[in-house]
């Protein structure tokens, strides 16, 4: 029996039980939709992170206080820091290495920024003049922290776009006084818009001289030091210099950790992949349930159509003809579910990104192929048993079946 005819017969049977066929596909619809959704979120995250790191420049290194065995980004560890990272450490790195072109000491804290009656809770970053060079940022109005601002511990602040709008509206903030964590600062500049990166909103930040920040937060050590290496294609000389210089200053102990951007990217990628596989595993369970649903309904269908199978066999249908007929039917049901799930998943993924731009999604060809493959596979795998039952029916018994 020709394939086209088989497809027609199967389609007819699916149409004859529209509601039942639809309910049967539901499991696969949900399964495939969740596969599409979850994997597209994973893929989107991966792409997003790659872009973020590319935007930061590939020659960035970070020094965190404390020694970690595992490489990777994230928070500094809860370890016994013998020596904190100090401003002097940063200056030493700046002066003693030819493989380093920029060094920015960083103190990160949280605080309230106020101007008259308006206020905003934000991130306060203590740093120095090299920060914008190291992090590829630029100033929109006024100027960034100057070298002498740090030397003289001037109480000046550079604010991000969001804060400028929030506190000053359309007014120019330059030269205006603001309060940062209860202390008075003068606004010396406004950053050009940059947007978010790795969960940090660069537009929603206040930059003040690093030593002023240490005073403000009552801290002795730096949160980290950002370093720009001279040679983006080979970071090793810069890393070796950092380790050598800091060890010398820290009584020959390596109580700090140097992390390159590549390390961080790799860590994030690992997290993203792990997430993707875990989510994929969860989605597979719903596909499994969907498949069992199909098998169940196909078994019912075979039973209901026992007579029809008997008639077809009496008229000359071979075992293979019946097997293929029912297999095609289950594959069609599951593919239908796959197609609906594909549409649904893509729709949800797109609307999530439209509603919440922070959650990027990306639908790639391999996701689509995975979904199609999954649904056809489910149809075949769970269709074989019912189809075999049908094909193995004894025509005499089947014809007598009431």
């Amino acid at each position: 029996m020709e394939l086209l005819e088989q497809v027609r017969v199967a389609g007819e049977s699916i149409r004859a039980n529209k509601l039942r066929s639809f309910l049967t596909t539901l499991g696969v619809v949900i399964g495939v939709a969740s596969v599409i959704l979850l994997v597209s979120i994973g893929e989107g995250m991966r792409t997003y992170l790659a872009n973020v790191f590319a935007g930061m420049g590939s020659n960035l290194l970070f020094v965190f206080p404390g020694k970690r065995d595992t490489r990777g980004g994230g928070h500094p560890p809860m370890s016994t820091t013998v020596h904190k990272l100090t401003l002097q450490d940063a200056n030493a790195l700046r002066q003693r290495s030819l493989n380093i072109v920029g060094v920015a000491p960083l103190v990160v804290g949280g605080g309230r920024v106020e101007r008259a009656a308006r206020s905003r809770d934000t991130v306060v970053l203590g740093t120095d003049h090299e920060f914008i060079e190291v992090h590829n940022l630029s100033v929109g109005a006024g100027e960034f922290l100057r070298e002498e601002d740090v030397e003289a511990k001037h109480r000046v602040a550079i604010i991000g776009q969001t804060i400028a709008k929030e506190l000053f509206g359309d007014e120019s903030p330059l030269g205006q006084p603001i309060k940062v964590a209860e202390s008075r600062f003068l606004v010396a500049g406004v950053m050009a818009p940059k947007g978010q990166s790795l969960g940090l909103d660069f537009d929603d930040m206040v930059y003040i001289p690093v030593n002023a920040a240490l005073d403000l937060f009552n801290e002795e050590g730096l949160t980290r030091i950002s370093i720009k290496a001279a040679n983006p294609s080979n970071l090793q000389p810069a890393i070796e210099d950092i380790v050598r210089i800091l060890k010398h200053r820290h009584n020959n102990r390596e109580d700090f950790t140097v992390v390159s951007q590549a390390d961080m990217l790799e860590t994030f990628n690992q997290i993203a992949s792990t997430m993707t596989y875990v989510l994929l595993g969860i989605a597979s369970i719903s596909l499994l349930v969907g498949g069992i649903g199909i098998m169940n309904i196909m078994l019912v269908s075979v039973r209901e159509r026992t007579r029809e199978i008997g008639v077809r066999k009496a008229l000359g249908a071979r075992r293979r003809d019946i097997l293929i007929q029912f297999l095609i039917e289950s594959v069609m049901v599951s593919s239908l579910g796959g197609a609906l799930g594909l549409g649904l998943g893509a729709l949800i993924a797109t609307s999530i990104t439209a509603a919440v731009p922070e959650i990027p999604t990306r639908i790639t060809l391999w996701i689509l192929m995975l979904a199609v493959g999954f649904s056809v596979g489910v149809g075949i795998f769970f269709g074989v048993a019912p189809a075999r039952t049908a094909a193995n029916l004894d025509p005499i018994e089947a014809l007598r079946y009431e």
């Binding site: 029996m1 008639v311 077809r312 008229l315 000359g316 071979r318 075992r319 005499i396 014809l399």
Partner: protein, 226 residues
């Protein structure tokens, strides 16, 4: 000789007991013959019909159809023989309810690998033989009992089989319609030269065939008109 049956037996196992449905039955039927197989229920006539119709295989003995030894064929080969050589007519018609009369008639051609266009032509030709061309597009539910049985006969004829095998073909019809169906069988047997085998318990219908074979308890007890 179209059908040559020699010492055919069929034994069913029912738990510990063996049931002999057929006991060394021998029988020969000519091409173009018209034969009625009669007997009470449980006599083995259905078993004989199933074996002749290649739906079942015997436990012993041999069955040659058109010179070929059918009794030792596998399931797929038997399916092909059914498709090419046998036309079944059932008591309950056994039409597929969702398909039109034409599609029902064309069903055996589907498994014979006939092209779509030819299927349509051959099915219309078969419907013409039973005077139902004008109902080709109707579903079985839209047809009367007699019309349904005529569609079933057209389906049995469509692949030009050598044997028309009818199992109680008038059992679900009233007497008048039943006579019309029997008349149709006689006409097809004479005009199309198709071998007719009627299985029935009705003596009057059996008399419409030229030869009557009576089976009781798995054995032929009389064979008249041959």
């Amino acid at each position: 000789m179209l059908i040559e049956i020699e010492k055919l037996s069929k034994v069913y196992r029912m738990g510990e007991n063996e049931v002999h449905a057929l006991r060394e039955v021998s029988l020969a039927i000519d091409r173009g013959a018209s034969v009625a197989i009669v007997g009470p229920s449980g006599s083995g006539k259905s078993t004989l019909m199933n074996i002749i119709g290649c739906l079942d295989t015997p436990s012993g003995g041999s069955y040659r159809l058109d010179g070929k030894l059918v009794s030792s064929m596998n399931d797929d080969a038997l399916a092909t023989v059914r498709n090419r050589q046998i036309g079944f007519v059932f008591q309950t018609f056994n039409l597929l309810p969702r398909q039109s009369a034409l599609e029902n008639v064309a069903l055996p051609l589907l498994y014979a690998g006939v092209s779509r266009r030819e299927r349509r032509e051959m099915a219309l030709e078969a419907l013409r033989k039973v005077d139902l061309v004008e109902r080709a597009g109707h579903k079985p539910a839209e047809l009367s009992g007699g019309q349904r049985q005529r569609v079933a006969i057209a389906r049995a004829l469509v692949n030009r089989p050598s044997i028309l095998l009818a199992d109680e073909p008038t059992g679900n019809l009233d007497q008048k319609v039943g006579r019309e169906i029997i008349a149709l069988f006689r006409r097809l047997n004479e005009q199309e030269n198709v071998t007719l085998i009627l299985v029935t318990h009705d003596r009057e219908i059996a008399q419409s065939a030229r030869r009557q074979i009576e089976i009781i308890d798995g054995a032929i007890v009389s064979d008249r008109g041959n």
